[in-house]
Amino acid sequence: MVKILNLAARNLLRYRRRTGLTAFLIVIGMVAVLVFVAVTGSFKSMMIGQITDSFLGQVQVHRRGFVASVESLPLNMNMPAQLAERVHKALETAPGVVAHAPRIKFGAMFSNFTETTSVRVNGIDPATEALVSPLLAKRQNSGTVGPTLLAPGEILVPDLVARGLKVKAGDTVVLVATNRDGSVNGKTFTIRGTLDSATGPGGRDGYIHLDDARTLLRLDQPEVTEYAIRIGGSEDAEAVAERLASIFSDTKNKEGQPILEVHPWQKLSPFSNIASMIDLLAISIKIMLVAIVLVSVMNVMIMAVYERIREIGTILAIGTPPGRILWLFLNEGLLLGIAGTVAGVLISIGSILLIAAIGPTFTFGQQRGLVMSPDLPWMDMASVSAMVILIAVLASLQPAWKASKMDPITALRHV
């Protein structure tokens, strides 16, 4: 085996320029794929982190139908106190759930006493919300930044609204909301600070204390619109959502339909479509790599067989088993694939580390100054390397097969 590998290596080095060019093509393809995967993977995980950790949560539990009508933020879709308590207890013991936070979501009119605009508001419990949305505090760009997100009587105002109505931290504003029975109620708040916008629905919401929300909406019972959930680091949001849906499937209405629905972040944020497109692009570029490797290795191996027909005839004549000739040419393809892969991985690692060291910044939607910090995609490196090597061997299969099936007399007569 070692001797065959050695012979295969020497055969490859016989045509240094051609072998080098083919290996170079593989390297270019590998670097393109791995750097793309690292950069887009970094962008994707950063954006997902921003979305889930700064306002959305990774999984949410609602009453069935709420998400479908989320634009109108209907108060009649809140979980009644008894149901909310049942969900809270279930989440405390649910596997994979690290933290959960109750929210009341509603639409309101925001006024600085001279001007008024509409705003979406989240009533939150600051302590649990900080666990579910650890980056929410970092979005605060002005005002008091303390140990808690906010206190009763305070409001965190989205930056766009604050600028539009020319209000700032410390100002008094009023929120006016329509209650479930159709009546209107208002409450004054002190602006604790303003929030940077975040990408996606909910990225431009205001925040008040949960108790204030209940007061404003005149909710007698501790109702909840949704529970936002943070999952364990190794958990998959969709898998946890599925598990929770199974847990809550017993909770049914009089018609026997499940009352609750569970959504992972992918079902709640349009960024999941962008993430899917990025994944699709990565697959496309991998397919291009496969084509590059397949065509270039097959081409070089076809040439190798054609140029060595007499040599193949000789080694067949002296009794080399056809299987060994097949194996010899497969080894040449294998070594070519390995050489291109090793060089490709090394150059990719260098390129990715360089990008991470430079840390280029970019803007996405309303978010500015996002820093590109790609990680080394070890899993992709392993899978792409294995794929390239496998394709190189497969590309050698036809020429190797042809070599092993050659008629020695015809091959020896070849000029």
Binding site: K3, I4, L7, R10, N11, L13, R14, R310, E311, G313, T314, I315, L316, A317, I318, G319, T320, P321, P322, R324, P408, I409, L412
Partner: protein
């Protein structure tokens, strides 16, 4: 005991719509440790006979036994194994593997054809290189060797796996006069030392003169059987230089 027996041996090719009778009912026997030659003009069928003896081609009629094996029964794999174990080849163009050194070319059949242990392999290769006078050129590649040196390496390669039979297709055609004689002398020496049977296909009068048995083919038929007479005008003095 006869090493090779052929009776009514035939080989017909299909070339387009035409049947080409390359060998037509040839009978011959070759004894072990012979120095035999098939001679004749181009297209006479001598190379075809050699190919059939070497299990590279199948007879289309008659019987051909090599080392008591009916070669028409061998398929691609068993034919390769039979060649690897019993038959060595020497080619007109030497046909050494260009990326291997002289040593590695000789070693090649012991690795790729037979699986010899490393120590035995090294001993055997050195022995053969010594026998053909190429020990001091063992590390050179074919492109660094002269024609005669290449053919010496090819002879060593043909004999290294203890082949009982060596088939040589025009082995001196690409060599100068003196070198050709050196190679013939070398082959005879190998025959004497190892008891190997050498069969040539040639129109080189030097080989015809040295052959102990000569089979003359013409138009696929055996013409005469020569018991090894050596034409005096084809001999050369022994002072010829190494090739």
């Amino acid at each position: 005991m006869s090493l090779i027996q052929a009776q009514a041996l035939e080989k017909t090719y299909r070339a387009g719509d035409v049947d080409v009778h390359a060998v037509r009912g040839v009978d011959f026997t070759i004894e072990a440790a012979s120095f035999a030659a098939f001679v004749g003009p181009s297209g006479s069928g001598k190379s075809t006979v050699l190919n059939m003896i070497g299990c590279l081609d199948h007879p289309t009629g008659g019987m051909l036994k090599v080392l008591d094996t009916d070669v028409s029964l061998l398929n691609r794999e068993t034919g390769a194994a039979f060649r690897g174990n019993n038959i060595g080849f020497i080619f007109q163009d030497f046909n050494l593997v260009p990326v291997l050194t002289a040593y590695e070319n000789v070693e090649y059949p012991l690795i790729m054809v037979q699986d010899w242990p490393a120590a035995d392999r090294a001993k055997r290769v050195k022995e053969l290189l010594e026998a053909v006078g190429m020990s001091d050129q063992a590390d050179k590649r074919p492109d660094q060797l002269s024609g005669g040196q290449k053919q010496r390496v090819a002879v060593a390669r043909a004999l290294v796996a203890r082949s009982k039979l060596v088939l040589a297709d025009e082995p001196t055609a690409n060599l100068d006069h003196d070198t050709a004689y050196r190679i013939i002398e070398l082959l005879k020496g190998m025959r004497d030392e190892y008891g190997t049977t050498f069969i040539f296909s040639t129109h080189d009068p030097k080989i015809m003169g040295e052959a102990e048995v000569t089979f003359t083919l013409e138009d696929g038929r055996m013409q005469t059987l020569n018991g090894g007479s050596r034409p005096p005008d084809t001999r050369i003095g022994s002072e010829a230089s190494h090739g």
